[in-house]
């Protein structure tokens, strides 16, 4: 997407719930505020859904998934064509979607545009996958005929986070639809505006009514109603570990709905003694501060070999100070970082920074607020971090880098693995053998070698341990949206 210009004051197009291919008010008529984190101004109010709206949406989805419905009986290639059309529509309207995202979430326009571009690629990947979901015929004893069918799991509840709003919703939408399901999406209450556009996209692309439903609202109300619903077959959640526990519990207590969770991380980065610091320092910090640190797979524990530790710390503080000039109005050209998404996050990060200082880490730079208006934070670097500190264990979700020292590779591996999380582990090295060895030993769903945010529509993504359950993206990602049926015939 080249030469795409932002709309600095994008039109607020959709603020209502979307049920059965119609935008409607909530049953209660309640609304809630949406804030622009760069200015702290209120952008608009959005309809607030609750149990009554969730019930309507789930009924619509259930009807649309009835045995002989248009969606159930459609040729798989035609489903693919619809998804492909969705990609075309989103590509056409990229400038608007990215502008709305920047206003709502605060990320720089170029990042928002990148999110939209990746969204388009994911939709296109899955569009081409629809008619390639193949079962097997099985070797059976004489006189028997056996085969498997991969069927849609049914009605899916998708609950998405505020850090990459449109991208995270797209990830769910593309997989859900490719597998032939219907869904009720609850977008994040902090940043629902771009996800709401999926209603228009669905109508224009020709999705039958009831397949796409969007209920805006809050976790404890709308989200809880969805996860407790007896007529929802599966919940797919991306968000915090704490809420992940709640969702899995609610799923078990209701109807044993299938659960996939993409949760947080405290991902380790290991930098060996032969590292080229000029190259590696910017990469390590960019990998930590990506999306203003608001990334589940940010590299937030930087293990540096003792031989290069001091120099690494010095250069990191320098690089962080250079970044200060690139923090500001996300609509401005050349801006690298915007504000944090809201006051709750802002305060939480500052609290964790305080804990770092109190527990004895060394504050190399930053540590406080930047600018008078908007939730902007100074790029912050801590050194001398030890594994027991809160900043070494808890997910901060802000531009705060933790640098730790190690002496042997085996020690680094063990300390990296010593975490309840296991989303990503990264290695920066010129020695491929070392990288391959580390890939075997590190307990994480993604191993990144010599770069960060390595992701493509066909690379499965998910967490070990409490970073999540299940995988998304790629062929493997689709399995969690399908149900396997085995058919056995005695001839």
């Amino acid at each position: 997407m080249e030469n795409v210009k932002a709309f600095k004051n994008p039109l607020i197009w959709r603020t209502q719930l979307f049920i059965n291919n119609e935008y409607v008010n909530s049953v209660s008529g309640k609304t809630f505020e949406i804030e622009n984190p760069s200015t702290e101004d209120i952008i608009c109010r959005v309809q607030e859904g609750d149990k009554a709206d969730v019930d309507k949406a789930v009924s619509a989805a259930r009807r649309a998934m009835e045995r002989n419905s248009p969606w159930r009986t459609m040729d798989s290639a035609d489903r693919g064509k619809i998804i492909h059309k969705m990609a075309d529509i989103i590509e056409r309207d990229a400038a608007y979607i990215a502008s709305l995202e920047t206003m709502d979430n605060g990320k720089p326009f170029a990042s928002a545009l990148g999110d939209v571009g990746f969204s388009v690629a994911i939709l296109r990947y899955y569009a081409g996958l629809c008619d390639k979901i193949e079962g097997k015929t099985l070797a059976m004893p004489n006189g028997k005929f056996g085969y498997t069918r991969y069927e849609p799991v049914g009605v899916v509840a998708a609950i998405t986070p505020w850090n990459f709003p449109f991208l995270m919703s797209t990830l769910k939408v593309s997989q859900i639809l490719a597998a032939g399901n219907a869904f009720v999406l609850k977008p994040p209450e902090q940043t629902p505006l771009t996800s709401l556009l999926y209603g228009d996209v669905a109508i224009e692309a020709g999705v039958p009514p009831g397949i796409v439903n969007i209920i805006c609202g809050f976790g404890p109300t709308a989200g809880a109603a969805l996860t407790a619903h007896k007529d929802v077959n599966k919940v797919a959640f991306t968000g915090s570990r704490e809420v992940g526990h709640i969702i899995q519990k609610a799923s078990g207590e209701s109807n044993l709905k299938r659960v996939t969770l993409e949760l947080g991380g405290k991902s380790a980065l290991i930098i060996g003694k032969s590292a080229d610091l000029e190259k590696v320092v910017p990469l390590a910090q960019d990998g930590c501060y990506v999306n203003m640190g608001q990334t589940c797979c940010a590299l937030t524990r930087t293990f540096v070999h003792e031989d290069v530790y001091d120099e690494f710390v010095r250069l990191s503080a320098e690089y962080a100070n250079e970044s200060r000039a690139k923090i500001g109005d996300p609509f401005q050209d050349g801006i690298k970082y915007g504000p944090q998404v809201d006051k709750v996050q802002f305060d939480k990060i500052l609290d964790l920074i305080e804990s770092g200082k109190k527990e004895g880490a060394k504050l190399e730079c930053g540590g406080g607020r930047l600018n008078e208006k908007g939730y902007f934070l100074e790029p912050t670097v801590f050194s001398n971090v030890t594994d027991n500190m809160r900043i070494a264990q808890e997910e901060i979700f802000g531009p705060v880098q933790q640098i730790m020292k190690f002496s042997s590779l085996e020690e680094a591996i063990d300390r990296a693995n010593d975490s309840d999380y296991g989303l990503v582990a990264a290695v920066f090295t010129n020695d491929l053998s070392e990288a391959l060895y580390l890939s075997q030993e590190l307990e994480a769903g993604q191993i990144w070698v010599n770069d960060f945010m390595l992701m493509a529509p066909n690379t499965p993504f998910g967490g070990y341990k409490q970073s999540g359950i299940g995988r998304e993206l790629g062929f493997d990602g689709l399995l969690s949206y399908l149900e396997i049926k085995t058919v056995l015939v005695k001839l």
Partner: protein, 467 residues
């Protein structure tokens, strides 16, 4: 259902040259040959005739485009897919013109070219567009301290030789998987029907495929097809045509051990059991034989009817097929593209053959064993299942087979026993792009369509990394 838009009147043939390196060029020797309209025997136009020198040029272009750091080799797999999606969109945009060309060049009715051939072409290219970034290798659990994995790489420069019965569709069956997997191609069309693929060449260029990735030659078997199949710089040859030429091609390929896939002839049996609904059975047998005027590799040209219903079956077939073929001829006359499809029954002008049915055929007769490739149906009687399965399998061919019965348990048992690449139960001539197609025995080697086709255009490399 949507209506078929009318064909183009007074169609001008725009593309009559060879297509090499994204350019339309004359043959090196300057030769041309006539393209005839089989409906009336008239000359449509002249087309450049490729010979060995042109084959060499085309193969060189394909080799160049396959070089290690070429645009095609370094392109993201998903971008290859995007180019194929674009080609499918362009085929759809030009569907009327392509169907008109196909009808005029091949003789098939325009509405069939539009509704069947072109529909399948577009679906095929779209399907393979989606595979481009999904051909996975594996990581493997080997003994010892190794990181071991396979890469699925393109085979290289592929020679593709296609027939005249479904000209554009056969080209799409070949181009789809070859391009999806990142190969480069030199494709020789049939000398009877070069026009639709040449038009498609212009769309391939418009879609944005780099020069040299697809090269199209018009010409004859011995002077163009043979040097192509023999060329030492082609890594693979894929051929659809007669079994006779297929065995020749396999011989040529042996010289430099080209990978070979062949889609050849058939003498496919259709077994009609006594419990079958007679009207439905007759319809299916019609379709099985007379589709595409009998010019179908998988034509059901041996109809085995279970003894108790044999007497009833014969005459019904006679009457119905007679009417149906005459109907086809009438609709063909009505459609009139500029280059007239002619008009009379049974060949005063053009090559219409009287539809023919033989009954009381015995297995040893020539008409029972040889592929006729025309609207001639053979009907046999059988007593028991075991007997008919053996008689059905008693053939050097093994492309297709049909079973007509309401007893699905018997149908599955018979399907299991038949030595044929595609078995149709209570249907015939379904060619979904997702399902593999190919022959047992001398009906061919390998499978086209579906995920299976990818193997024909993939070379597997295993990598061991000692850790």
């Amino acid at each position: 259902m949507s209506e078929v838009p009318p064909p183009i009147k007074n169609l001008q043939v725009k593309y009559k040259q060879l297509f090499i390196n994204n350019e339309f060029v004359d043959a090196v020797g300057g030769k041309t040959f006539e393209v005839l309209n089989p409906s009336n025997g008239e000359v449509i136009c002249k087309v450049a005739e490729a010979e060995e020198a042109d084959v060499n040029k085309a193969v060189e272009a394909a080799c160049e485009a396959f070089k290690r750091d070429s645009a095609w080799r370094t392109m993201d797999a998903s971008d290859r897919g995007l180019l194929l999606f674009r080609l499918a969109d362009l085929l759809e945009k030009h569907r009327v013109e392509l169907a008109t060309l196909e009808s005029v060049d091949n003789g098939k009715p325009y509405h069939i070219a539009y509704m069947a051939d072109l529909a399948l072409c577009i679906k095929c290219i779209r399907y393979y567009a989606g595979w481009a970034d999904k051909n996975h290798g594996k990581t493997l659990p080997v003994d010892g301290n190794f990181f071991c994995y396979t890469r699925h790489e393109p085979v290289g420069v592929c020679a593709q030789i296609i027939p005249w019965n479904f000209p554009l569709l056969m080209a799409c069956w070949k181009l789809g998987p070859a391009l999806s997997m990142g190969n480069t191609v030199v494709l020789k069309s049939a000398e009877q029907t070069p026009l639709s693929i040449l038009f498609t060449a212009s769309l391939i260029k418009e879609a944005g495929f780099p020069p040299g990735v697809v090269n199209i030659l018009s010409g004859f078997g011995p002077s163009c097809g043979a040097p192509l199949a023999k060329h030492p710089k082609c890594d693979k040859v894929a051929f659809t045509g007669s079994t006779e030429v297929g065995t020749l091609i396999q011989g040529y390929a042996a010289e430099n051990m080209k990978r070979v896939t062949l889609e050849c002839g058939g003498k496919s049996p259709v077994i009609v059991l006594k419990d079958a609904d007679l009207d439905k059975a007759v319809d299916i047998c019609h379709l099985a034989l007379f589709f595409n005027h009998g010019q179908c590799c998988i034509a059901g040209s041996r109809i085995y009817v279970e003894a108790p219903i044999y007497e009833k079956f014969g005459p019904q077939v006679d009457l119905d097929q007679f009417k149906k073929i005459l109907e086809l001829i009438e609709s063909g006359k009505k459609e009139g593209a500029c280059l007239e499809t002619g008009g009379k029954q049974f060949g005063e002008k053009g090559y219409f053959i009287e539809p023919t049915v033989f009954s009381d055929v015995k297995d040893h007769m020539r008409i029972a064993k040889e592929e006729i490739f025309g609207p001639v149906m053979q009907i046999f009687k059988f007593e028991t299942l075991d007997e008919v399965i053996d008689r059905a399998n008693e053939s050097m061919y093994g492309l297709g087979a049909g079973v007509i019965t309401d007893d699905h348990t018997r149908a599955i048992k018979i399907s299991n026993a038949l030595r044929a690449g595609t078995v149709y139960v209570n249907c015939y001539n379904v060619f979904d792009t997702r399902a593999p197609f190919g022959g047992f025995k001398m009906s061919g080697i390998g499978r086209e369509q579906g995920e299976y086709a990818l193997e024909n255009y993939t070379e597997v490399k295993t990598v061991y990394n000692a850790l």
